[in-house]
Symmetry: C2
Subunit: 332 residues, 2 copies
């Protein structure tokens, strides 16, 4: 069956995904997976559709005009005859919209959804999982958490009957980069600038440095993998601006640098979520720049640590590709 | 279908497995997996068989006598009406026998095999994989490499179309413990004694400290996951006894401790394998005691590091349990 792919959002992640899909076309065909890219929607580009396939190169060079007759996502999905939606629109942390409505529209008509958007997992994880089950399609979100480490597929496929008791990780690299700037005697602004140059920070990095990006990520993890039903406000959140540059420099000199740590812990049936700067050691202290770290403890395994070194948009795009294969590969 | 399990070898790993199977019986039943333990064979205990199930507690307390009429593994498998073999006999690194013949006997009659034995992967990986495919049963070996990190299932299930280019890891904890003894000004013998007290070193630890255990592990990894056909002698092997305690102490003081590093690298279509002590940094330098570390580089992901902290027989037994679920769970 020919897979007709549509993309919502066309920033670094979905652009990297298009390049990766083309680069891996032979390997995908060897797995029996054939695809056409049939639609792209972003607020800037509008709705670009062709059910017979768009040329990837022209798409990346933004040479294909939008179709002015298409004005909403349901029409877009139908016009493209979509079988898989890659949803990578901007995060709206406090409602998860409009991403939730896009994902709903796709699942509703039997389209698999692969998302890089954390918002829907915070605000509608159980609803969307149930809808996907009802419609017999897949809803996958590896790319929402630590690009380049297959956390969700690891938990789902490789660790059966293991009960997740604790998570502790460093899921926000903008905070790491700013803490490193302080360690090196640089200013907050210099740290922000470096994170922006690396392509990881927004114009306004408050959401990262104040801990909300980490909070959204771990609430999503708790709601999907620990059967929790947390809201964002259930997470205790302290950002790195609660520290002084001097504290951060001193901690580094003492060999126990500060990092913005995100933690989940199971107490009875309740899951507690917390984001706060902490002094760290061990592998946590080796995390710099774009590295991501996740540490899991289970009833049957004392601790597994996973680190992705230098994780960026390409690695996040790979997570989406792996999800795509998982969605459609089992039908072979 | 009732699974009739048989165990070959009854040391720490398979004993831990019996305890874990009993502890996780409710979760396994929830997955639709029911089982009886129907046979145990070890050189010391002989062949213990009951196709209607053996009592786990009595088995662990060694209160069940051997059956003197059973004298070989094929008869043992038939008498137990085995559906799954857990093979954890002693490693014979230079031939892989008799484990290979046990595994062959089981696969031949349609019994799934879960092994913790590295020898067969070095000497017969492709033969055994082909035999399992032909007989439509599974041959799984997660427990052969770094107990408590699901390396093989991660590579198999979570990282599709990713081409493994490099591996670098610390798969031998006896060497780590002896290097730590030297770092602390203790003797080789004190290090060996500590490793023995931790239950990780044999009476004669030469095989570990001279690098052969690591070599067997990475050759098995190369032969299964990199499509190589290496023999043990293709691996360049240097052990930690090539170092002086003074060198090791100095390296630690310099912040770049020695560890026994095992590496694989793809050159064109050839895989090069190497074991040697190296000065390390980053997460490698955080590895102590029973920790295990694996670092993988792929065409699509620059580097993933996985660390199992405090990995012992229980964690290896969990790897076997996960393999078991993978073998029989897909028939649900």
């Amino acid at each position: 069956m020919m897979q007709r792919l549509v993309l919502i959002g066309f920033g670094n992640v979905n652009r990297s995904l298009v390049e990766l899909l083309e680069a891996k076309r032979p390997e995908l065909e060897a797995l029996g997976i054939e695809f056409l890219i049939c639609g792209v929607y972003s607020r800037r580009l509008g709705f670009i559709v062709n059910p017979n396939g768009l040329d990837s190169k022209a798409l990346l060079e933004q040479q294909i005009p939008a179709d002015p007759f298409i004005v909403d996502v349901p029409t877009f999905l139908s016009a493209a005859q979509a079988t898989v939606l890659f949803e990578a629109s901007s995060l709206e942390p406090f409602s998860g919209q409009p991403a939730i409505s896009y994902i709903e529209a796709a699942l509703q008509i039997g389209v698999h959804v692969v998302t890089a958007n954390k918002g829907p997992l915070v605000h509608a994880a159980q609803h969307l999982e149930a809808l996907a089950r009802e419609k017999r399609v897949k809803f996958r979100y590896e790319a929402t958490f630590m690009g380049g480490i297959p956390i969700y597929s690891l938990l789902r496929s490789c660790l059966p009957v293991a009960k997740l008791l604790r998570f502790r990780g460093l899921p926000n690299s903008t905070s790491t980069v700013i803490l490193e700037a302080w360690e090196n005697g640089q200013s907050y602004e210099e740290g922000v600038r470096r994170a922006q140059e690396m392509g990881i920070a927004e114009t306004d990095p408050s959401f990262d440095v104040d801990g909300w990006d980490s909070a959204v990520k771990i609430v999503g993890l708790a709601n999907t993998m620990m059967n929790a039903n947390l809201k964002l406000e259930d997470c205790s959140v302290t950002g790195i601006r609660s520290l002084t540059p001097e504290q951060v420099r001193q901690a580094k000199q003492d060999g126990q640098p500060y990092r913005l740590v995100a933690s989940l812990r199971l107490f009875g049936k309740a899951v507690m979520a917390r984001v706060a700067p902490e002094q760290v050691n061990g592998a946590f202290a080796t995390v710099t720049g774009n590295d991501m770290l996740a540490r899991f403890s289970f009833d049957v395994l004392p601790a597994i640590e996973l680190i992705a070194r230098d994780s960026g948009a390409k690695e996040t795009a790979y997570d989406m590709l792996a999800d795509f294969i998982e969605c459609v590969g089992s039908k072979l």
